[in-house]
Symmetry: C3
Subunit: 306 residues, 3 copies
């Protein structure tokens, strides 16, 4: 805790750039994709999926074709160097540039399908939530839609480009509290209500018409094993029509929740259940006791239970 | 998964704007209120409630009257067209403009009351949290205050303007992880500690001097029924002086937590409790077992319980 | 609910600035540190710790010494007045300015140590998460790293400057859902996976090589007592090598989790456990029942358990 003078501290800090992180850190850092560029692209992708979503003027639907073309052209121009950087090749070779172009071709070609899929998610939100008063409200004020839309687009790039898909889903995670790994496979009509605390792990499979609430997690068993498990199916399979209430955790790559099952709140589920099941904990009565004196009450409130 | 050329994809995407979302989507999108304008207004409303809050210069308290008048004038000018757009009438008819003005008159007239109410919330935070060292710390660094302030202002517009109140509370949700529906009715001296994961549903009623912690949810029973339940009282009633610990869920429109009750952490409560109750689960002993060998330990850690 | 005219409302609002919050509120507000300046500084501190992190051009590692020096000089210039304001002395006396300089000297002198510590956190994340494909991914897309980095820097200022450390950690909380109080003491190799909903209270002590998941909370017992507990050890001690699964709450200043223990998901732990323990709830079987008719199913789904 010596008070080095500023110049010593700066030199020491500079030294750590070389030391910690290994010899290649600075070279790697020099070609990291720009988080800011990718986050801005996410915002633009949202307004490509939902024109008007971010409040940009939509003077006339006649202008829409030109606006859309220019948005897509612009996105390609900005994303291409970031893709090259993600491959660690920047300034990029012709080969890497070609690869980036092919990835962008594929990405753009799939956007109409993504939009159709997202409309099924909006349908599911409207049907599922009595507080929803209109489709517009869902587009403007449902965090789940943003998280799902960005996930569906990031999923297109998963296993094709390093880093960028994860930066995209973390942008949505930061804004919504919903953490969906770009590797997950998710069917149509997916609805997440409220959403804060939701975690969908990398190898999760989710069917269509699935509805989950805040705090639901699909996680890996054997987290102890770390890197040894890379690439293995580690997260559960959730079949069509399943509904899972708030705070429930489903764990393990061989855990399958059969179609049309309902899982109650705060369940910790580590084994498969057959289709059409209703899963909850056996009756667990709460103790409701009158508070005695003020002193007694505040003593027993300590741990609430001890 | 064909690689359409870019122009095909754009045409297909344009087609989906008309197809999915029905024939009216583009017209509706053209008059959606601007999320960005409303989010900026939220930030300005926060600094109207708490001058100095966002670090703007407060040269002299003599300037405050002029600064305040100009802030309010500015807010009205910016919010009026957004209100008209929310009514789907933009460019707006004289009638809609008049309605927007009346709503803004009402909104501004209620701001002094909101500020008085918010001061009771600050009092509650200061009294309730030993980590709070000053009122200034609460204003500058307690996410709950932002979520509650925006909720209290959005509540003024609830049932008067579509969309805007929800955009406001979702702005706060995104920043704080606290999701309070603008329809909820909440008394004075309301305190939320930490806050991430809190959900307060549309028809919740909360008395005064209520204190809740992170992850507490007030949710609807019978979520299955969806739109059929719209407008019904679906969320619980929390009476004065109730304290609810982290992670507890209270469910159902007929569930009433009697005044001055304390509910422990992680309780799932679906029925009413009388005033002055202490509610917790019966003794649930944890198993504390020594780990045997490294191998055994990592095997049984898998599911932690199987 | 009268419709005052706008001018009345403004005067009333102005009056509340003086009334609520006591006579000193406006004077205090005039010298509040600027949240925006401190939040911008947090972003700059992140790119000082991880050059390239925010996508700024890193043309050449030869430029790094000059860039780093200029970043630090710039940070000092901007933070100095905010520190003076935090001491309530602005425009500042010479004595306060000197104190601010000494604090900044100390802060800068510790940054190399912080960077070394953060590299152990990155190591822990890479080793612990099979979904992590590279160190770069952790720097660019793991919210925990941002929350931990800002905590480690805010901790340097804890008990030295009012307000600013808490504004820093709340910036990270807002972006990540991870709420670490700057007062906590946390060892090396700390990893938080997913992270949304994590709470680490002010007097928590955490050893090295500790790994926690989303929703884990270290909280105070006897929250009832409020301000009376200020400054006391209120939060638990977590020894080296402990791993705690999602949603678990550990409570109380005298609660010690012994080294190398593993705590399962959703445990509510209010007492100490010896080293090398495996802690979980006794077998709790879930009820898995087939749904009968559609009507019966939706009836019993109400509360899931009643």
């Amino acid at each position: 805790m010596t008070n080095k003078n500023g110049s010593d501290a700066i030199n020491e800090l500079l030294a750590t750039y070389g030391e910690t992180g290994g010899i290649n850190y600075l070279d790697a850092a020099a070609t990291l994709p720009s988080r800011k560029t990718i986050e801005d692209a996410c915002a633009d992708l949202m307004s490509l999926m939902f024109p008007g979503f971010r409040g940009e003027a939509l003077a006339d639907s006649e202008d829409l074709p030109d606006i859309t073309k220019s948005k897509i052209r612009n996105l390609r121009i900005r994303l291409k160097p970031e893709i090259c950087k993600s491959f660690g090749d920047f300034p990029a070779s012709d080969e890497t540039k070609k690869k980036a172009d092919e990835i962008l071709d594929f990405f753009v070609s799939q956007l109409p399908e993504v939009r159709k899929l997202l409309w099924t998610d909006i349908d599911a939100a409207y049907e599922g939530d009595p507080a929803a008063t209109s489709y517009e409200e869902i587009i403007l004020a449902y965090p789940a839609l943003e998280a799902i839309a960005i996930y569906r687009m990031a999923h297109l790039l998963y296993n094709k480009v390093p880093l960028i898909p994860r930066i995209m889903t973390e942008w949505a995670h930061s804004r919504t509290g919903i953490d969906i790994h770009p590797g997950a496979a998710i069917g149509s009509h997916f609805f997440i209500d409220h959403g804060t605390g939701v975690v969908v792990g990398e190898t999760t499979t989710i069917g269509s018409h699935v509805k989950i609430y805040q705090g639901v997690s699909f996680i890996a068993r054997s987290l102890a094993a770390g890197q040894a498990l890379r690439g293995k199916k580690r997260h559960p399979t959730i079949e069509d029509g399943v509904r899972i209430y708030a705070g429930t955790t489903v764990m393990g790559g061989d855990t399958v929740i059969g179609r049309n099952s309902t899982i109650g709140a705060n369940v910790f589920l580590t084994k498969s259940v057959p289709p059409n099941s209703l899963v909850y904990y056996e009756e667990k009565e709460v103790a409701v006791i009158p508070k005695r004196s003020k002193e007694a009450a505040s003593a027993s409130e300590d741990g609430v239970r001890k």
